[in-house]
């Protein structure tokens, strides 16, 4: 398995600070493939639960991040029949409503596309080196990992 991430057969992993164009990525993902009938995307968006979020900043571990995402995606490719897999994750500063990340999966079978996307999300949440910090009311605080996110891994 590649340690580099980036482009490989059927797998694209992108880690960047800049916003990504979700509509354009969704439009071109697996476009024109006539062997893949089912495409699933998941997008994570900055939430402002309490209504006073001033911003979010995501820290990551350059080098390990791409490697971890590529390993997670490769494991999904090994478990399900997938024609294409895409993972995009941002780091740096974001505002409420901004898109943080997306995954996309394409398969001949909808159950494979759905399960692989859920698997990618469950592992990405708890095993890819990203940390969220929220600013609200002038204070900054690191988002705590949720027990339910760790527990979600048990089903795979």
């Amino acid at each position: 398995m590649s340690d580099q991430g980036g482009l490989r057969s059927g797998l694209r992993v992108v880690v960047q600070e800049a916003p990504f164009d979700f509509g354009a990525e969704a439009e071109r993902f697996a476009a024109g493939r006539t062997d893949l009938g089912a495409v699933v995307t998941f997008t994570g968006v900055v939430r402002d639960v309490a209504g006073g979020l001033e911003g979010m900043e995501i820290e990551h571990y350059p080098g390990m991040t791409e490697k971890a995402l590529t390993e997670i995606a490769s494991e999904a490719q090994a478990r399900w029949s997938l024609g294409e897999v895409l993972v995009i994750h941002r780091y740096g500063k974001m505002a409420a409503g901004d898109r943080i990340m997306m995954v996309a999966t394409a398969s001949a079978h909808r159950q494979h596309a759905f399960e692989a996307a859920e698997y990618l999300m469950d592992y990405l949440k708890s095993r890819a080196p990203f940390w969220k910090k929220e600013s609200a009311g002038g204070d900054q605080s690191w988002v705590a990992a949720k027990d339910e996110d760790e527990a979600a891994l048990d089903r795979w």
């Binding site: 999300m121 949440k125 990203f130 705590a144």
Partner: protein
């Protein structure tokens, strides 16, 4: 010499993102003990290991992982991506 990296609140408590450490610690746990013995800020950062995760050469591992041949060790809280 080994590169030791800190992320998120571990980085903030220790006060720097990265340092080179001269160590002959056999395991991650032994390295943590050496660091805790150094200064208060390490003691504070490593007070509760159950709240920490560790990667050796960019692979997640356990605190009892060996350090022989390792170039890079990173300490950080549980991840919160997605």
């Amino acid at each position: 010499m080994i590169d030791v990296l800190y992320f998120a609140w571990v980085r903030e408590r220790i006060g720097l993102p990265k340092e080179k450490i001269e160590t002959s610690a056999a395991t991650v746990a032994a390295l943590v003990e050496e660091l805790k013995a150094r200064e208060e800020r390490y003691e504070a950062a490593f007070a509760d290991l159950s709240a920490l995760r560790v990667a050796v050469d960019q692979e997640l591992t356990d605190f009892d992982a060996p350090l022989a041949g390792a170039r890079e060790v990173a300490f950080f809280p549980p991840m919160t991506g997605g």
